[in-house]
Symmetry: D2
Subunit: 334 residues, 4 copies
């Protein structure tokens, strides 16, 4: 039984906590969250204890750290946990400062600890099935990827102010999808966008509607369209064109009811939010993490994957601000 | 060029007239319609002549008769055209009196003329494609057929009063679908129904909602559900379950627009009416008829098919009125 | 915390056991299964104890009994648990002998205990959503119901020999759907069927392909088609035609991948088996049961529902054997 | 009855000829095609005459010219027909040399003749229905457009050598869709692409896979992905995201057959080719043209539309060759 400490009991922290309790492989021993007054009570409901970071990292029984605290705490926890020799599951991003993120990558490497980053989409049953079929050659050689990535409704300005902006907090997932699905690295990237929904985003140096084009060294093409608002629900689709056909990952719906009236034939809206859409994925990614710790198998989403996706986010910001095409230079040590 | 006389310039007669003018194989010489005051002008617009039945049947240049006049004229025209040695295309039904219909069948046989009945659904591209794939063995041996047959809105009481009722005017098409698609003959039939939409139908000895179950000699099962009203459009679907899978014939939509709003994801309603739904089928059935006349190939929908479908209509009426299961005895000379 | 004893740790018993452990309202204290050698170990893995029936029924701490043991034990356990004043969740059927089932119904009523029967389909999110929308008047007054009910592959002959046959073990669920969705009771019923898949079923007095027609006192029509085999997966659909439109409950698929190749555009097969298809429903029905016990609210699927569905199964067997239409007489005391 | 002369009896010329004969408003008097040896016979089958350009333009009875001849003849015929005061329907493009195309635009304007360009997609029932619903405000204010544009199979190298390349012969239609659907003009454009299918295209200075990003002055975003090959059929879709939802234009299929087997649930491939996909559109665009001539209403696709789409093609070529973002400057006199 792997003993775990979980940092941060916000929305995603609570999801992970619940998922971990369903594992037969892992058990939460500590919760850490200095900003949560009810942490002791919360921990107790999981038969765990509230603790501080020093206690957790100093406890030799703790094998794994799950980092769900706020972004600005990630780098420090990653560095300290690595040094303490703990296996790490960390929500994205590593750090909004890419140099600092790279130092974390180096620290993880030096420490030789397992570090998995929370790109949960790679564990979605639909996306995973598509990837397997693509790799099995069902549509031949992949040539083009089109990604649609839309939230139900725009986040508050306060979130945008500290998230790093649409390319860093939202499209980073899509950049990871590109790298994972196409098995390719970007050579050039072009990004642009607009403030069409929340004018205040512009003052904050951000946008709500964004499009990106990536071309790989081998000529693979990828287009991403992203919006902070889709009235019909959370919209997460992509399609791969290959030499022998196309594979599409469609949206999930809450039910399979079809209504036919004089107004048309209609199905449900898509799942409204990423918590519903990726409910299974969140379960599967932690299962994967603890399985990897148990068997020694490598994790699917490494800290290097996180750095490389973040490099594309940085390139997108640059492309958009300068209005130019950016040539990607990875300084990540793959 | 096959010279044709067309009887009856109502709705369906005009559709056939337009379709015939697009053929390279046939040309309308005469129109006959004693009830239509503007028949001469109408005929002229097709470069044809208005005429009476005697003239038409006495003209040796006329090879083919297309009967689109009212149901009560069909039998007489069939008998006289047969005797005159003309090829015949006749809208269903032959005659509401099954005995009279059988005499027409005999007359056609005695005369040795080609006689095709207007079961246009057999020429619908979707239905025809399904039939070909079924016959090619795509889903193995057919076991069950489920037919959904619904009009957009109920006909006026006046129509019901002279149509012979829902089993004779509407389900006769579905009985033909059963025989054609499954390549089977009914052994037992059970029918029931209700007046749920137009209470006046009940006084007229009819119903608006009907269900039928057929079992063939070999154990093939068929269920038909029919309604005079479907608010979402004309609904004509069926599905065949076979030993290796299922083939479904879905509805056609006017366009492929999909709308996604907070209310749901919706497509168009189905085509509203049989004239739109079977527009191509009407073209194809006459093409088939004239091709058959030219090449000498047999026609797909014979007068015997019409009699056999009508026998199922009669059995359905009997089953419903008596509340019993009916054993089918065909007196048709196949 | 409601203390529970669970009888029978076969396939469905294990599902229920796992679901109960996720409840905050209930806790399994005892497992009973004389036929299972590893019952003690199994019970231990749930922090519970293996026990015999007398111990369980004599323990005043036990509030609820969950019956997942073999069909022939249901009636006895129902009678004894009622007398012991326990709340009961019982898998269908009550008993293959309808008279005995009715005695259980009476015993439950006399004892005044809560008794819920495992018609899990009523808790399926798709079916439940459809029912709510129907009741909200979205398609007006319901007129017709069409149910498709097909297993992936036929059960072994040994199962058929003791299950009571297709109408009693399989269509009983569909009869319950009819009653629940349409809010109607059958007046007449007609059933027929064939042995098209497993010829040996015929010798066993059963069939593999069945069709049923039900007409309610108010003229509502229902058709059910059922098969023991559907190569494309477990097929559980139904559609309701109403005065203002139609509501359809479609199948669930494992993923939303769409593949487009020269062979066509395809999605996944349906979920293969009822355990996957109704995974959520199984969770929800027990949640409903324990909620009802906690709040005192009535349960959705009562023993009377079970008796009434079973009466339709008996009528179907009779109709099929006699080749006649059956008039339904309920002796159940609603 | 409008007397028409049609130039060029290749594939598209024959389609237009057949469509014109079905009009009640127009009649072909002359066919012109110096490269077709059987032109006289062909003309005769339409009750028309083969003639040369001088005869046609000198015949005062001729009101309208339909230009379907090879691209290099368009400009000259446009100039001469304008000067002769004829109404003109011209297949795209005007001329591969944009300056020459602009001179044609000026000539048409100076002559004051009606000139319609063959962007048939604007007459496709699905696209037209979407446009009407968008303009009616169904999804609020349009924000983003995603276009998928894929041929079934790549054209021969000989075609690519004289077509002007993928941006000029293929994406010009998509550029027109952008302008028409979004009612917007491009401010910046970025294009890139690859040779992934036919390596020889590269030597010819072309590519087979292309992606384009357009941003309008008002911030509207458009992404186009195009490929010369889609094994599953001709793929022509687009989707508009608006402030209140999304409208998608899906592909058309030959039939509505659905097959469910152990391999999956599948529908037909899309229509294989633009001739089938836009069969109705070709009929409707000429109907629109002759209606406009009869009523004096403006045509929907003007020569200015053609110039503006071509300017985007030129910008795309430039963007791709230089690897930069292009700022659009229209010299067209709107």
């Amino acid at each position: 039984m792997i003993k775990v400490a979980l940092f941060g009991i916000g929305r995603i922290g609570r999801i992970h906590a619940n998922n971990i309790t369903q594992h037969t492989l892992a058990q939460i021993k500590y919760f850490v969250d200095p900003h949560s007054p009810d942490i002791a009570e919360f921990a107790k409901s999981f038969d765990a204890t509230a603790a501080d970071t020093d206690t957790v990292l100093g406890d030799p029984e703790i094998q794994a750290i799950v980092i769900c605290s706020s972004t600005d705490t990630h780098a420090d926890l990653l560095l300290r946990s690595s040094q303490a020799g703990k296996a790490i599951f960390c929500e994205k991003p590593i750090d909004l400062d890419i140099q600092r993120a790279r130092r974390c990558e180096q620290a993880v490497r030096d420490a030789g600890v397992t570090c998995m980053v929370g790109f949960q989409r790679r564990f979605d049953p639909t996306f995973e099935s598509l990837k397997k079929r693509l790799d099995a050659g069902e549509i031949g050689i992949p040539e083009m990827l089109t990604i649609t990535s839309r939230d139900l409704s725009p986040p508050p300005l306060s979130y945008v102010n500290c998230s790093g902006g649409i390319f860093r907090d939202m499209l980073i997932h899509d950049f990871d999808i590109f790298r994972w699905i196409m098995g390719a690295e970007a050579e050039t990237l072009y990004a642009t966008g607009s403030c069409l929904i929340v004018p205040e985003y512009q003052t904050a140096g951000d946008m709500d509607s964004a499009v990106v084009t990536i071309r790989s060294q081998t000529g693979i093409l990828c287009q991403i369209n992203a919006s902070r608002r889709a009235e019909y629900g959370y919209d997460q689709r992509f399609e791969v064109l290959g030499s022998k056909g196309m594979l599409q990952a469609g949206n999930h719906r809450p039910t399979e009811v079809i209504a036919a009236t004089a107004q048309g034939i209609s199905t449900d809206c898509t799942e409204p939010f990423f918590l519903e859409r990726y409910r299974i994925a969140y379960t599967m990614e932690l299962k994967h993490f603890f399985n990897a710790l148990t068997t020694g198998a490598p994790v699917r989403t490494t800290i290097t994957d996180a750095i490389k996706a973040q490099e594309l986010s940085e390139a997108a910001v640059h492309s958009w601000k300068e209005g130019c095409v950016v040539k990607i230079k990875s300084s990540s040590t793959t």
